[in-house]
């Protein structure tokens, strides 16, 4: 479970987060909506331990982030909006490094990485240096690194942005699978359609404040299946 309580963060005079509180229960995918600059990325970066809050607390699967950041990081996966990697390592090497640091057994790490790379259609280029990757491919690698250890809490910051249609669908399925296994997912996006389809609840941030929390019932039954355009795209992609 992810619990954020009274989180406040300033950048100089700018109040980026103003006493934001929210909770993501195990098995739940919560969408974090907001305009540009609403504080979504700040909230996720702070919850991921990449920057310290000015006030408030973050609890990751029962661990206080401020008290035991290492244990919290162990239980957390974070797919950044602007991912960064070792440019001269390959995707395979990067995932091998992440797997070792996260304490996965070598065979498990290798198997998980292979599955994810194939799922996201990166397997064919997994031995190329990351600096040759496009933005979308970097985002896929970031997503793979975040879910490699099947964390109990997952933070996704515009994680599917830049994904092609097939990879986006596969990633959504992977998120649903993780949630079904008990993972608490906080999914930040500015695309309401993605949140409508994927999430169980939505939190709307406005000027650093938790403006509204909506249950899935509030936006009606989610659209199921593929849109006509997605169907056409997949037909072309699969035919070649």
């Amino acid at each position: 479970m992810l619990r954020v309580e009274g989180l406040t963060r300033r950048y100089g005079d700018l109040l980026a987060l103003d006493r934001v509180s929210l909770e993501v229960r195990p098995g739940e995918i919560v969408g974090l909506l907001g305009a540009n600059g609403a504080g979504k990325s700040t909230l996720l970066r702070t919850a991921a331990g990449l920057q310290a809050p000015d006030a408030g607390s973050v609890t990751v699967a029962g661990v206080d982030l401020a008290r035991d950041p290492r244990e919290a990081a162990r239980r957390l996966g974070y797919a950044a909006e602007e991912p960064s990697f070792y440019d001269e390592l390959s995707a395979d090497e990067h995932l091998a490094f992440v797997s070792a640091v996260r304490g996965l057994a070598p065979e498990d790490g290798r198997a998980h990485a292979r599955r994810l790379l194939e799922l996201l259609e990166l397997a064919g280029r997994a031995d190329e240096p990351v600096r040759r990757f496009s933005h979308g491919m970097c985002k896929k690698l970031s997503f793979a690194a975040a879910v490699l250890h099947e964390p109990p809490v997952l933070l996704c910051d515009e994680a599917l942005e830049g994904f092609d249609v097939a990879a986006a669908l596969a990633a959504k399925q992977e998120l649903r699978r993780l949630a079904a296994a008990g993972c608490a997912v906080l999914f930040a996006s500015h695309i309401t359609e993605t949140v409508e389809r994927l999430c169980d609840r939505a939190v709307i941030l406005h000027r650093g404040r938790n403006a509204r929390t909506l249950d899935r019932m509030a936006w009606g039954a989610p659209a199921t299946g593929l849109s006509p355009l997605e169907r056409e795209f997949l037909a072309v992609a699969r035919s070649t």
Partner: protein, 406 residues
Amino acid sequence: MPRPDDCSAAFRALRRALLSRRLAAVGGLLRVELLAIGALTGAFIAWQARLPLDHLAHDAGPWAAVRALALLLGACALAGGVLAGARHRRRLAGGAPELPWLALPVAATALARHLAWESGLHALWTAVPAVALLAAALGLVPAWALALLAAGAAAALAGCARLGCALAWALAVRRLPEGPGEPLRRLLSAAMLRGRAARLPTPRWTGSTWRALLDKDLRLSWRPTPARGPAVTWLAITVLAAAVWLAPVERPLAGMLSAALVLAAAAALGDWLLALACCDPFAALRGLPLGPRAVWGARATWVAAGALATAALLALAARGLDSGARATFLVWCAGATLAVGLLAVHYGMTLFPRGAAARRLFGLMLGLALAASLMIPLFGWLVLLAALVHSARRLPRWWRLEEREC
């Protein structure tokens, strides 16, 4: 709409903003520390220069001192030009960070001027010894001559920085293949395409954090990253430090040369470790359950390996020394490598991800230790150990670090 070549006002505003942002990015305490190190280095240079200038002024008259001072200031300006030129050469070869400029409707000449200005700022490092030399001559030469020398030195420094950048530009353009378009655009675009590697070997899957960190460091040092140059430099100087003992020179001279080279090798080892820290992407690393102990342990392993390798190589090369002298020499060499290497490890961690600031502080601290040892024998060790202890106490701040722009 302004014309592409009419953007000098925008560039002036950008330069002002860049200068103020960079100044603001250096924290208050660090600013005081840098000023103190600069002042101490300057004071040392002034102290070293004062006596010879005084002798010269006394024996050959104030004009001889003015001539000597002019020569020294000229050397400072030349050194500044070399620094600026080297930086500009790297900038033009690097390409990628400058590529977004190409999307703007900016005239190539204005962009080239701006890039040269950025590189030219590095020449300012030599202003510290120049000011110290001028201060050393206070009261020895007429005040108006000193003022003229100061103005001349500033102009020479600016001129040399421009000359250095112009030379770097000429060298870079000379290697550029023929093609359509402006040379700067072709140069920056070509830099992006250079060095595209083939497929990389299969990774080693391990369950150990330390092994993963060491393996990653080795791979990054082997490939074309900023860490490769310092690693090669360290190996080359270490081999040279051992080779000195095999050269046909007297043992005391060989010992002195070897010790000096061991110090240079230790500095290169530290530079390599700092370059490795610079390669670490902040968000990727900090999102992982990596504590300061694991990071320090992996980096300290390289330092220990470096110290051992240095000692082993020197033990083989310096077999002619008697056992007592050899043991003392080896302990000194290994100790210096350990202390300097660990200092780099600490700065790389406590200032992460501000690699440039860590490298500057490391260089300044080594300079200070060297100056202290020249003033009072072995005093540099005290300075080095004090810096080591001070930086070690800051290691737990690893968890409080944030990504800030330099």
